[in-house]
Symmetry: C2
Subunit: 334 residues, 2 copies
DNA sequence: TTGAAAGCGCTAACAC
DNA sequence: GTGTTAGCGCTTTCAA
């Protein structure tokens, strides 16, 4: 049907293999031959068949993303879209394609990964893994298929991954607040068993220490979910004890819930900080100061690591730490 | 390297073509042969090479999504993610894969589409086209490559597309408000030149007519952007004239801006309705009644149409209208 | 530097 | 029903 390498070869008066060499920009092709071939390609409006190349090369240049379905809230978090865009933009630049799939649960996820790997559809896989995703990771490690994680893994030394420095991010938030004059700072975190929560909590404590502010367990709460409701309840518990000058949280939704309580009770002047800088933060009244985790960059670096790995099989396991940015809004300018 | 059809053939004591027929579930293969082959596949842990199949079949079973980069706000709208999920879920069920790419502008978009088509990478394309995207659409029409649009096209009769019934959706909103006792209802729409705005406006007018409520131009405003700021300004203009009993908008952000004015001025009891049911609506105080456009279904049907087209080349051009749902929250329970 | 030819893994006539 | 064989469009030895 379409134009093939043979048509080009005929028109340019060379052999198909020469055309192939021109396509892959082989160095041992004379300039004039190259130009002849390019001309023929232009003339016939030729573009190589990607699939045929993939088969011959045993490589598709396709990266597969595995997205968790999870609870809708999490899933509609702009984080995913931003990361997907970061991945896509970098990949496009390097001539890679992106495929994605949603998985309902870990079992399905594993199935899909297996399919991707065994059918040779994708050259590498990017996992959006917040939960401890042993099965998939260990499968991929086992079969030795290239992959990269977004989010710090349990064993950080034998996989490729990207993440924020969550310790530092929260440290900076607290430091920022203290320097603004707030001393009595409460903490509302997500589930305590998550790395991300623990790291941020540690950052909180360290910053207090640095500023010689004594910690107070009673203003520290860990919510069971990243929900507004959970933030609401945590804040209520804190208020039952005292009214802090400021509240740091590990998620915008938690911050929203906490703010809600304060509004209900008519308590003014308590500074509030969220995390993830979702657009909920921006469109709140008062708008919410929040930490931008730079999902776009996380995606970009994930793609970068993976593609480097694909091009250098023996690349050492490594990772990227993406900087966060504190976006100040009205909730800390009271 | 890997296991191929030949290995299976050998082990099962049949010819490669028989194995191939088993793979594609050909009806003219005896049950016992099938089982022999399946057994061999299991034993060797075999999975067909998707790329080789694609080459031989001249079909990849890959659908390509073209996503607009556009303004960040729009892009982070959960709409895209929901639609992408709808597409993915349906496609997976039918054994299709999804590839996506972001395009910076129409030019890049066209380039990408051309590449997809000419390199034979994708079997079909899904366009997220809100703007009038002539170049891409006419290219695809020209080359006769299967594609489907999310959003009503200029010429609705020679392409496949899916969309909401925007007229009806807004009609229902107004009808709902009137039945609750609101009569004096203002309208804040997006840019007037968009179909979606016009259709919704028509629905608004029709509903007023139906209930024998006279229209009042002075409570009708069209914003230049879908932004909070634009909603804010439109509402101010309306208030300069009078305080309506209710306000319908064509976007949650517009509704947020409008609500903001009311709060500032301490005006209570004005009902407010948004559109798109983003999670901004849910997490607002008071939470915002909004029309859910069911992006998931839009995606699902887009995939469905496209896949049907791929399987029946001569399928007539048609479209799906996806129902909207009015999600009532506090802003209409005042 | 270029060409001839085998092969990547699977499918689809065509034969039997 | 099943096997034989010639591709699908490109890459890559191996020779020249």
């Amino acid at each position: 049907m379409g134009i093939t390498i043979k048509d080009i070869a005929k028109l340019a008066n060379v052999s198909p293999s020469t055309v192939s060499r021109v396509i892959s920009n082989s160095p041992k092709i004379s300039q004039e031959t190259k130009e002849k071939v390019y001309k023929a390609m232009k003339e016939l409006n030729y573009e190589p068949n990607v699939i045929a190349r993939s088969l011959a090369n045993n490589s598709t240049r396709i990266l597969g993303l595995i997205l968790p379905t999870s609870e809708d809230d999490l899933f509609e978090n702009p984080f995913f879209m931003q990361a997907m865009k970061g991945i896509s933009v970098y990949a496009q630049k390097k001539g890679y394609y992106i495929m994605y799939a949603f998985s309902e649960n870990e079992e399905k996820e594993l199935e899909f990964i297996k399919h991707y790997v065994r059918s040779k559809l994708v050259d590498g896989i990017i996992l959006f893994t917040s939960r401890q995703n042993d099965k998939c990771i260990s499968y991929l490690k086992n079969v030795g298929h290239p992959f990269v994680l977004i989010g710090r893994p349990e064993q950080p030394n034998d996989v490729l991954w990207v993440d924020n420095d969550n310790f530092r991010a929260m440290y900076n938030v607290v430091d920022f607040l203290v320097k603004k004059g707030y001393k009595d700072i409460a903490f509302i975190g997500g589930p305590e068993n998550l790395y991300v929560t623990r790291d941020r909590f540690d950052g909180y404590r360290k910053a207090l220490q640095t500023h010689a502010i004594s910690e107070d367990d009673k203003v520290v709460k860990f919510a069971k979910h990243f929900s507004k409701q959970a933030g609401y309840e945590a804040m209520k518990e804190i208020l039952a004890y005292k009214i802090p000058q400021a509240v740091v949280t590990t998620d915008d939704l938690l911050a929203l819930g906490a703010t809600h309580v304060l509004n209900e009770l008519g308590i003014k002047g308590v500074a509030m900080v969220g995390f993830n800088n979702t657009y909920l933060a921006e469109y709140q009244v008062p708008s919410l100061t929040s930490v931008d985790i730079n999902a776009h960059k996380l995606g970009e670096y994930a793609a970068k690591l993976l593609i480097e790995k694909l091009q250098k099989k023996d690349m050492p396991y490594t990772h990227y730490i993406v900087d966060t940015v504190l976006v100040e809004r009205e909730s800390t300018r009271l």
